[in-house]
């Protein structure tokens, strides 16, 4: 996929959560321009470049990043911090995905510049609806901003 066309960057280590989110987005025709990265390390490599792959720039980045918080090695918080402190990437909307509203890190995420967060619902219908609403919202918002 051409990076210019990239719309959604999904960073999620739980394969089921990722598959279900992609499925929900696909049903709305929103998953064509989606890239799924399976952990924080992959995410950093993709966003900031590694080897022959270039880093994302101001004019060339996804419309929204959906970021899971709890991941091994490099967690969502670290990815968020890096994205929001780099002038080239800080304007990308980042939506935090978390399993629990109890998450003590939610507050910290906002301080770091997260644009919103959503608690992944247990029920599939809610889950799909949330993911779809979110995708629409941020993609539309971003179009307006551009």
């Amino acid at each position: 996929m051409n990076r210019n066309e990239l719309e959604i960057l999904l960073i999620e280590d739980n394969p089921d959560d990722a598959a279900l989110a992609i499925r929900a987005l696909k049903k709305q025709g929103m998953a064509n321009k989606l890239i799924h990265l399976k952990n924080g390390v992959e995410a950093l490599d993709f966003i900031f470049g590694s080897g022959d792959k270039p880093k994302l720039t101001r004019d060339n980045h996804p419309r929204v990043i959906l970021l899971d918080l709890k991941m091994p090695m490099v967690d969502g918080m670290e990815v968020l911090e890096k994205v929001k402190s780099d002038p080239e990437t800080k304007s990308i909307p980042v939506v935090i995905l978390t399993s629990s509203a109890e998450d003590p890190d939610i507050r910290k995420c906002y301080e770091l510049g997260a644009n919103s967060y959503i608690v992944k619902p247990v029920e599939f219908d809610n889950f799909s609806k949330t993911v779809i609403d979110l995708g629409f919202y941020w993609m539309l918002m971003n179009k307006v901003n551009k």
Partner: protein, 446 residues
Amino acid sequence: MNSIKNSPDPPGRFIPDFENRMNKLLDVLLKFTRLDFSTQAEVSSRGDEIDAVALGLNTLSEELRELRLKEQIQQEYVKENEERLRLLVGGVKDYAIINLTPEGLIESWNQGAEKIEGYTEQEIIGKHFSVFYTPEEIAGGEPGNNLRAALAQGSHEGQGWRKRKDGTLFMADVVITTLYDELGRIKGYAKITRDITQQKEAEIKILELNNRLWEKIQEMELINSELEAFTYSVSHDLRAPVRAIHSYSRILYQEQAQNWDTESRGMIQSVERNAQHMGQLIDDLLAFTRLGRKEITRTLGLDMTELAREAWRSVADTARAYPIRLDLKILETASADPTLIRQVFVNLLSNAFKYSSNNPNAVITLTSVKEPKECIYCIQDNGVGFDMRYYNKLFRVFQRLHTTDQFEGTGVGLALVKRIITKHGGRVWASSEPGQGASFYFSLPY
């Protein structure tokens, strides 16, 4: 006397009589000097100067006799008092009360001193009071320092380890007071000693217990924070698989089940329903634990009627299917946390709602009574009720008195109600009979 005898003779006719009478007067005077006022001077019938002196002496002797009597009474009184004080001090057993000379030698001793320090009176009188001090304190000049401090400030109080006759140590509380005589010269010292070893030990013990309590509190706090971390991890880690189970079974049902037989369709729906129930259990458990940490913020004059009405709206919204009537009386206001009390109403009303859903004429009645120290609120329904034999399980977490096929639920609602009300300093209770409806009560102090 001699001067009178050897004086030049007065006129002759007076001589023998004069001398005789003067000598008698002199005798009386002499007795005066020995404080003897008992002899009367002889008064002749002559009415001359000697008689005048004799009369004067008699008046004087009478006055002196009275004065002397008063003085004797006073002295006896003082002596009596001194004796009483001596007996009193001597009999004091819990305090060592002793007198010291200005040099620090022991002058008097009481029973308390014997009991506390171990010496008998005979053994100790005349010894220097430094025998009570430990060798280190003597080396440090402590006994002398204490006396000097008492002299400088009038009295000196201190605590320290002192030595008994048998060499054992005790913690002493000592007051040394400087004593002065009538002319302001130092007479010595009064030294009052109390054995406060037990008190000191008790203090140390209390301190130890406090420390141990503090350690326990810290331990508990650690456990609590571990529990919080555990709760968080439960919410995170358990929700993910439940979400996957629920989602995949839902997808299968929606997209594949039309090709399956009835039994298989039923089974996949069972999977979905159970996953949903488990999700609810996790959420309720979280809500329950969260409440343990939450501080209550009281609102004074809280409008309980309005709160109940709001709660009813949200309950009726989610269960619109059943036509159930709410009979809401005007409730007493309360001093309570609005968010939490709203939760109480939601839980009690949704319970009442749930367990009355089989009754076509279901009515839920909400009333309150003002008692001397608390307001009591009652939610009454005419639903299925419960069996009082299982009452002790009613307010326990994850305990249910109905099966899930009868009525949905996780068994957290009433436990949550109890926790909220208890946090407010109130009580919860209930009464029912199967088939006769149930009444739930909670009280809030005001």
